[in-house]
Amino acid sequence: MTLDIPIIAFSLQVAFVATGVTLPIGLITAWLLVRKDFRGKFALDVLVSLPLALPPVVVGYVLLWIIGTHGWVGQLSHWLFGSTLAFTWFAAVLASSVVSFPLVVRSFTVALAGVDPRLEVAAKGLGAGSLRTFLTVTLPLAQRGVIAGVLLGFVRALSEFGATIIVAGNIPGRTQTVPTAIFTRISSGDTNSAWRLAIVSLVLGVIALGVHNWLLNRPRSPIGSGSTRLGSPPL
């Protein structure tokens, strides 16, 4: 039992950091996809969604070729630090971030799209800049959807297996997460300890999804939804 705690703690750390990374990048990407039109928007949308459509082992293999000994990032880090970032906690965070990114962006896109753009226009009309508008008008109105997206990204990051095992390995004590540890235990016939960790995963998943669904299903306040009518009622 005591051997489980470091693995669970490491998994949670990796998921927290991965979520911390995907939150700002995801918000910017979602905002671009919802509010802006530009050349290459279609390509960006496809690129962002790609990790969802690929087998996670492929995502992991691509990442390994970038940050491992053969890739340009790997060669750079070899030159700077004497070793690559593959098979480290950084690689585990990278794997989790990349696979959870599409889910996060999709949730954020829905959340931002539900904010009436006329409110943003009104705010800018009153003198607020783009950033201030985003932070003080858009984000608060989208907050439930954003939080739900963060939760979804977190639970996805926590449960990543294929990409993690390829680019971070499954090194006990260094890069072994809950999913990869469960795999090792199943493979070596250690069924009781495999079940222990599986139950931990189950509980974490149920809690996260429960909160996620509750956030999204609560009755919406009338302010900020696209159907609000602005201005005074017709005379």
């Binding site: 950091v17 000994t69 593959a86 098979f87 480290t88 390995g169 090194i171 493979s187 070596s188 016939g189």
Partner: protein, 250 residues
């Protein structure tokens, strides 16, 4: 919150001076105990990653895994490291021997040949020859009596010898072909036949990875294993006999 998580994550995983040794799955129990003895006597700890030797050798040589030492079985994994310039023959390396056996759940009767075993049309669990040398030895043994095609049709190809044994323990396979040392270590399976059909000599080689960051610490661990009477007894009781690493000369 993010900053704290980042700092905590950094501190938690950068174990600077502990050597990381990649070890064949069949050695997992005995090497773990040897590491406990090593830590008790010297205060130094060692970290391990266990798996099929070929899979681990590829991780080190091709994928850049940060191993400081290795303890592999068979020619292929050592050759992979040699080609990558990470190992060259030397007399300080540790050599161990092992034997191949057929196992079945505990109450099974013995058999006297592979032919007898295959005639029962069983589901056999064995190591995947692409990942673990135990699979290669198994394949050679079956090929020497022309039974490989028959048995490989419905066989369970496992990641390593331990996974093959787990398949037998769980009842998913009728027989398993694993190392004698694996069979000895488990109470849930028994040896039904010590394979007499011919296969290459099974040899383990253990030594440091050249130019790894903690290779000296890894070498220190191997020297301890070879010289300490306690660890030599540990390996002997588990069924491994020490040999001089003749694999060096191949």
């Amino acid at each position: 919150m993010i900053c704290i998580a980042s700092v905590v994550a950094c501190n938690g995983s950068g174990k600077g001076d502990v050597p990381l040794i990649f070890v064949a799955a069949s050695l997992s129990d005995v090497v773990g105990e040897a590491a406990d003895l090593y830590e008790a006597e010297t205060g130094n700890s060692v970290e391990f990653s266990f798996g099929g030797s070929i899979m681990l050798a590829n991780q080190i040589a091709e994928l850049g895994a940060p191993a400081d030492g290795f303890f592999f079985v068979g020619d292929n994994p050592v050759l992979i490291l040699r080609k990558a310039g990470m190992y060259s023959d030397n007399n300080s390396a540790i050599g161990l021997g092992n034997k191949l056996v057929a196992i079945a759940p505990s109450d099974h009767r013995s058999v006297t040949s592979l032919e007898e075993l295959v005639a029962e049309a069983p589901r056999v669990a064995l190591g995947d020859p692409g990942l673990a040398p135990v699979g290669i030895f198994t394949q050679k043994a079956f090929e020497s009596v022309d039974l490989w095609d028959d048995v490989s049709k419905d066989a369970i190809f496992a990641l390593d010898a331990r996974a093959a044994m787990a398949a037998v323990q769980s009842g998913n396979a009728d027989y398993g072909i694993v190392y004698k040392t694996d069979a000895i270590s488990s109470d849930d399976v028994s040896i039904v036949y010590e394979i007499q059909e011919s296969y290459p000599r099974i040899e383990y080689v253990g030594w440091k990875i050249a130019n790894a960051s903690q290779s000296d610490a890894a070498a220190d661990f191997f020297t301890f294993i070879a010289s300490s009477q306690k660890t030599r007894n540990l390996f002997g009781t588990a069924g491994f006999n020490f040999v001089s690493p003749a694999a060096n000369n191949q």
